[in-house]
């Protein structure tokens, strides 16, 4: 284990070994920050304080810079996502086609706010700006499946199916 990892609360496990390997492959270069953040998210599922500190130590970058880069991009997650994630596209086309109504309906039905995860950790709602499929607007991404021309009912059905027909427990 390298001395850097001692400074943070990261547990030394296989994931950290793999991350260290990628950092070494990039020769600890500051320019490879994005690739390393990608790898870290791939390994851990989301980025937390310990990972930021570890990466900033390893690449000798200010922690505020690492945080700034990670929050600039929509696809880096800073909170642990739920078992199932629903991502709503809020680009112009989807907005005009009424994705907002779908979002608020899902929020109400499952008692989860956008950007948050349900109390039981089974459902997360995320917002993104334009996934580049404007012709099929409104778009909703249910887990990994893009649902084009989405309707309130279709999205609700899919979510209910994913959650095994039971509603997410209310907070």
């Amino acid at each position: 284990m390298s001395p850097e990892s001692l400074h943070t609360g990261l547990k030394s496990d296989r994931r950290l070994v793999l991350l260290e390997k990628v950092i070494t492959q990039h020769q600890y270069q500051k320019e490879s920050l994005l690739e390393i953040l990608h790898k870290a998210q791939e390994l851990y599922g989301y980025l937390d304080k310990d990972l930021f500190l570890y990466i900033s130590n390893a690449l000798d970058l200010p922690s505020s810079h690492v945080y700034g880069v990670a929050t600039f991009y929509n696809l880096f997650k800073l909170k642990k996502p739920g078992t199932h994630t629903i991502t709503f596209c809020l680009g112009t086309a989807c907005f005009v086609k009424g994705v907002e109504q779908i979002i608020s309906a899902v929020e109400r039905a499952f008692n989860v706010e956008r950007g948050e995860t349900s109390a039981d950790g089974r459902l997360s709602l995320f917002i993104t700006r334009c996934i580049g499929a404007c012709a099929m607007a409104p778009n909703v991404i249910v887990d990994d499946e893009v649902v084009g021309g989405a309707s309130k009912e279709a999205v609700m059905n899919k979510i209910n199916f994913l959650l095994g027909d039971g509603k997410v427990e209310t907070r």
Binding site: F52, P62, S63, S64, H65, Y67, G68, T71, F72
Partner: protein, 234 residues
């Protein structure tokens, strides 16, 4: 190798300049006023506030004077009617973006945004104001960060990085959600990297970072802070 001296025209006035100079530097040397907010002599230029946009003859584009190098026989216009209109609009957009209330602001009377608005004759804002309600961080012993007054000029971030060399401050998110952060978006008081040098407060053009318990007019010298300029002579 010597630097080439070149000739250009700014607002019809013939001036000479060194090849690597920016339009803004040349204009200032020749006492031609170009408004700026994010520019600060001694720090790298950002070109973010767009107040220093100028017209260059022969190009339909506008150029930020602070980060555009001069070239031979260039003809620059700094004060056309459309430029003035753009500048007024930029100031109004800056005012509408967050919560700017001069009457209750520490920076009142020594605020560069206020000064700019006065200069340009802004007496109202034509856009809907956002009236943001971001959290104020007053956990630091001497300093306060109020994102509601921030215009995101990033002077504090640049001075923290380039002059103090600690890079405690940075920007998170993007667009309208951008905010100045300390370390990993943590309370300022808990920061290990901050040296409490207070340079950020000294370079803030508005009242977003200020020294606790004092109005800016009491603490801030209107001249450029010496430590920023001093760096060039070293």
């Amino acid at each position: 190798m010597s630097v080439r001296t070149i000739k250009l025209k700014i607002d019809g006035k013939e001036v000479t300049a060194q090849e690597a100079d920016t339009i803004l530097e040349v204009a200032r040397e020749n006492e031609i006023f170009i408004p700026t907010l994010c520019y600060l002599e001694g720090l790298t230029s950002l070109g973010g506030c767009r107040l220093c946009l100028v017209e260059v003859k022969g190009s339909p584009k506008l150029f930020p004077a602070c980060s555009t190098a001069v070239s031979n026989r260039m003809e620059v216009i700094t004060n056309s009617d459309s430029l003035m209109e753009y500048r007024r609009m930029i100031v109004e957009l800056l005012l509408s973006e967050r919560t700017h209330i001069c009457a209750v602001c520490v920076a009142n009377d020594s605020c560069e945004l206020q000064e700019m608005a006065t200069e340009l004759g802004t007496d109202h804002v034509r856009f809907n104001r956002k009236w943001t309600n971001h959290k104020i961080d007053s956990s630091h012993e001497n300093l306060v960060l109020d994102p509601n007054r921030c215009i995101l000029c990033t002077r504090c971030i640049r001075v923290c990085d380039e002059v103090e060399g600690v890079h405690t401050l940075d920007l998170k998110m993007r667009g309208k959600d951008s905010q100045v952060i300390i370390d990993l978006d943590e309370p300022w008081g808990a920061s290990n990297s901050c040296t409490s040098c207070m340079k950020c407060a000294a370079v803030c053009p508005v009242g977003a970072i200020y020294i606790k318990g004092k109005a800016l007019s009491e603490t801030k010298d209107k001249e450029l802070p010496e430590f920023v300029l001093g760096r060039r002579c070293r």
